[in-house]
């Protein structure tokens, strides 16, 4: 248990570091040196040192937004079996709980955005509410798939210990679809290219960034840290899926897990560098691809696993 809590703290602390890997990879493709790998820490420290500015037209909902979304993000990490170790909490059906915990975080971000009554933030909120609906469908398809393989609705049943290897043995090739499907969900949920552009300064094209325009100082710091944690959560799942090996010596297990994480973050960076962002009305098609992949994976396993 203590070990799990330490891992959980480590995950939150290292999440900003991994996010900077993406920046480095993009800089490399752009022929630049890029900002240092610790840039996100500097940014967070800067933000937490500042004061917050609140518009007079906002209410308590606006102040609640960042706190709740951050709380949701770190609570979700408590259910994550980091590097195959047991998570802090785990119970049957926790996957559904996790999904809606993230939904709760999103709801409050959207509510806070709507609270500002800014037309930009309203637009961002509408987009933020729309795309994850499709993601949710894909996520449930993946759950159905996992449930068919393991008969359990529990994150640790898929990702802790040697369960992931067992998953590959059971699922086989269709699990590759799931990896890609997960990666697409990761890009969508974390506002990455080609769905959203985290680097733009143009309000009209933003999805996630525009919703947090009015937040400042520590509030914005919480939102940033929360989004690093969220990205870490998804990356950790993909990392376990692509490198499912379980070693009795935990040092090697960690090393493999971190290598997996870095592969995922580099893959995000490469994706962002080699493709342009999709037009807003094409994004649903892209996100639906993840659903279709998960759906096919499930159909295939229907035949083989009775």
């Amino acid at each position: 248990m203590i070990e799990s809590i330490i891992l959980w703290c480590l995950a939150i602390l290292t999440a900003p570091f991994f996010a900077a890997v993406i920046i480095k990879v993009k800089a490399f493709f752009g022929g630049r040196t890029g900002s240092p790998l610790l840039i996100n820490y500097y940014t967070l420290i800067k933000l937490f040192k500042k004061g917050s500015v609140y518009s007079t037209s906002t209410t308590a909902v606006f102040k609640l937004g960042p706190i709740i979304s951050f709380a949701c993000a770190i609570t979700v990490l408590m259910f994550l079996p980091i590097a195959g170790h047991n998570s802090i909490f785990s119970f049957n059906g926790d996957v559904i709980f996790i999904l809606y915990l993230m939904g709760l975080g999103r709801f409050f971000t959207i509510a806070a955005a709507m609270d500002t009554a800014s037309p930009f933030e309203g637009m961002g909120a509408a987009r933020e509410a729309y795309f994850p609906i499709i993601c949710e469908a894909a996520m449930f398809m993946i759950l159905i798939f996992f449930y068919r393989l393991t008969g359990q609705l529990q994150l640790s049943a898929y990702f802790s210990g040697d369960n992931t290897i067992a998953l590959w043995n059971l699922g086989g090739a269709p699990l590759l679809f799931i990896v890609i499907s997960f990666f697409i969900i990761l890009l969508t949920e974390n506002s990455r290219v080609p769905v959203d552009d985290p680097a733009t300064h143009l309000e009209l094209t933003m999805i996630h960034e525009v919703m947090v325009l009015d937040h400042s100082g520590p509030d914005f710091g919480l939102i940033e840290l929360g989004s690093f944690c969220k990205l870490f959560f998804y990356s950790a799942l993909v990392s376990r899926l692509i490198l499912p090996f379980d070693f009795k010596i935990s040092a090697i297990g960690f090393l493999i897990f971190i290598i997996g994480l870095i592969i995922v973050y580099v893959a995000i960076g490469v994706t962002e560098s080699v493709i342009a962002r999709y037009r807003m009305d094409k994004v649903p098609q892209f996100v639906l691809t993840s659903f279709a992949l998960a759906f096919f994976a499930t159909i295939i396993t229907l035949e083989f696993i009775k």
Binding site: F29, G30, P119, F120, G122, M123, P194, A199, S273, R279
Partner: protein
């Protein structure tokens, strides 16, 4: 076709007595006749001459035409019949309080009090108030309609302008653009400025079009003082104008790439743009070409060692430019964003009178370098460069072509030694009671300056027209029925000047 308008050539000095002075009705009839047959407005402005108000119009078909008339206090709007007059009539109404009756959208252009203090303000504004405006915006009604107001203060380090979108969901039904926040009264500054400050003023009308505007000013002054720059100076000016075009087009293509989150070309072009600005630096000691063009010639000669360095650097940059262009235009995801985005049809472009790359992207071949060549352009073969589709892709593609052409033009010009005599003693004794209009193809399109002098050879009216004056409405048109999230992309594909418009 016989027309009462007088045919003139680009930069031709005319005594004002030679300009046909028509009755207002004849003026209107003839002007509309030219425009209805496919002509366009180059200049149309009012001026005060011995307390009487007059209009003067310079129109173009494949030739330039000029005529003037006495201005009435109000008149039936030309725009009702011929759209290209739209902005010009609003400008005249604002500057001199002359109301075009029945104008379809009579609104302030730049927000300043009328030059004639005796006339009531056409728009009913009190300019002593902090916010004088009666801002009327075109509105759309309905259940799901929402209005988005952007600016005048923007997130990036750009100039101020207000954009009002009427949307249904993500789709833009109408965009209205209100500018004028940068109004400095440039045209009036020219009237009272010391002669030697004229080039400085012209250079600073729009910083990114320094060469374009200073060329127009220099040619106009040269015409009125009957001086001719030597051949070397003409070549250097041509090189400078092409360098300006290169730096800006490359910067635009990089920014377009950045707007679709395709970073590598955005980064590379950002750097290469700087390299081309540095070539201007090499030429005259200023990255934007300030201080180079002066009436009578140029202030910096192109010595052989500089010419060689220029040649070497262009040889080095050319493959890089070609490589990055290829990277940008061969990426399918970029094509998917550019194609069919923000289409301005040829018909709309004609009605709005779009000029420059934006016009050529909508199938209007007009290019001053071909139609009314100045400087060394008469000896250079410029291709037509028009594209049929009118979308962001076409506007990017025009730039693609022009970048490669400009590189070739510069290379061919610096092939042989260029000799010129640098000007230091400039003649500013303008011919009295004269008129001249100059037109040049700057990187955004047709820049035009017109000068009228009075009986003492003093400037009576200095009129500046930046291509953005035509093209802002093109941007508004391109957004019709386009996703609001594609606005930045379209905006960048036009990349218009705020200060050039606001003057």
């Amino acid at each position: 076709m016989t027309n009462a308008f007088l045919e003139i050539s680009n930069g031709e000095k005319l005594s004002r007595e030679q300009i046909p002075h028509l009755s207002f009705n004849d003026f209107q009839e003839n002007a509309l006749d030219i425009i209805k047959n496919g002509g366009k407005v180059v200049q149309y402005f009012g001026y005060q001459d011995d307390l009487s108000m007059k209009f003067l119009a310079v129109l173009r078909t494949d030739k330039l035409f000029v005529a003037g008339c006495d201005a009435p206090d109000s008149y039936p709007s030309f725009s009702k019949i011929c759209e290209p007059f739209h902005m010009f009539e609003r400008e005249i109404a604002e500057q001199f309080g002359i109301r075009p009756e029945g104008h379809p959208w009579l609104k302030m252009v730049r927000y300043h009090p009328s030059y004639r203090e005796d006339m009531p303000d056409v728009f009913g504004n009190d300019y002593n108030k902090d916010i004088p405006g009666n801002y009327d915006y075109y509105q759309v009604d309905g259940d799901e309609i929402h209005e988005v107001a952007v600016g005048p203060v923007h997130a990036g380090v750009i100039e101020p302008g207000h954009f009002r979108f009427n949307c249904i969901g993500e789709r833009v039904l109408h965009l209205e653009i209100q500018l004028g926040y940068q109004h400095r009264g440039v045209e009036n500054l020219f009237l009272n400025a010391e002669a030697k400050r004229l080039p400085i003023l012209a250079e600073n009308i729009a910083g990114d079009t320094t060469i374009g505007h200073s060329l127009c000013m220099a040619q106009a002054v040269e015409s009125l003082t009957s001086t001719t720059p030597d051949k070397g100076a003409q070549i250097i000016r041509t090189i400078a104008l092409e360098l300006e075009r290169l730096a800006n087009h490359i910067g635009d293509l990089g920014a377009l790439s950045g707007d679709v989150a395709f970073l590598p070309p955005a980064n590379y072009f950002g750097r290469i743009r700087g390299d081309f600005l540095n070539l201007s630096l090499l030429l005259c000691g200023n990255r934007f070409g300030k201080g180079l063009v002066r009436p009578g010639g140029v202030r910096f000669s192109l010595a052989d060692d500089i010419r060689k360095t220029l040649d070497e650097r262009i040889k080095e940059l050319k493959p890089q430019v070609e490589h990055v262009l290829d990277l940008l235009f061969s990426a399918s995801t970029v094509r998917a964003r550019f194609e069919d985005c923000g289409i301005v049809s040829n018909y709309d472009a004609q009605q709005l009178g779009l000029v420059g790359p934006a016009g050529r992207a909508s199938g209007i071949p007009y290019d001053v370098r071909r139609s009314f060549p100045t400087e060394h352009y008469g000896q250079i073969d410029i291709p037509e460069n028009k594209k049929p589709s009118g979308d962001v892709y076409a506007r990017a593609r025009v730039r693609y072509d022009e970048v490669l052409q400009s590189l070739n033009i510069i290379q061919s010009l610096i092939d042989t030694p260029v000799e010129t005599h640098c000007v230091d003693d400039i003649n500013y004794d303008l011919a009295f009671f004269s008129f001249v209009v100059t037109v040049n193809e700057a990187w955004r399109g047709e820049v035009s300056h017109a000068i009228l002098t009075d009986k003492d050879g003093k400037i009576l009216r200095y009129k500046v027209k930046d291509p953005s004056f035509h093209n802002w409405n093109g941007l508004a048109m391109s957004l019709r029925d386009t996703g609001i999230s594609d606005f930045p992309l379209n905006n960048k594909s036009f990349n218009l000047s705020y200060c050039g418009f606001d003057l």
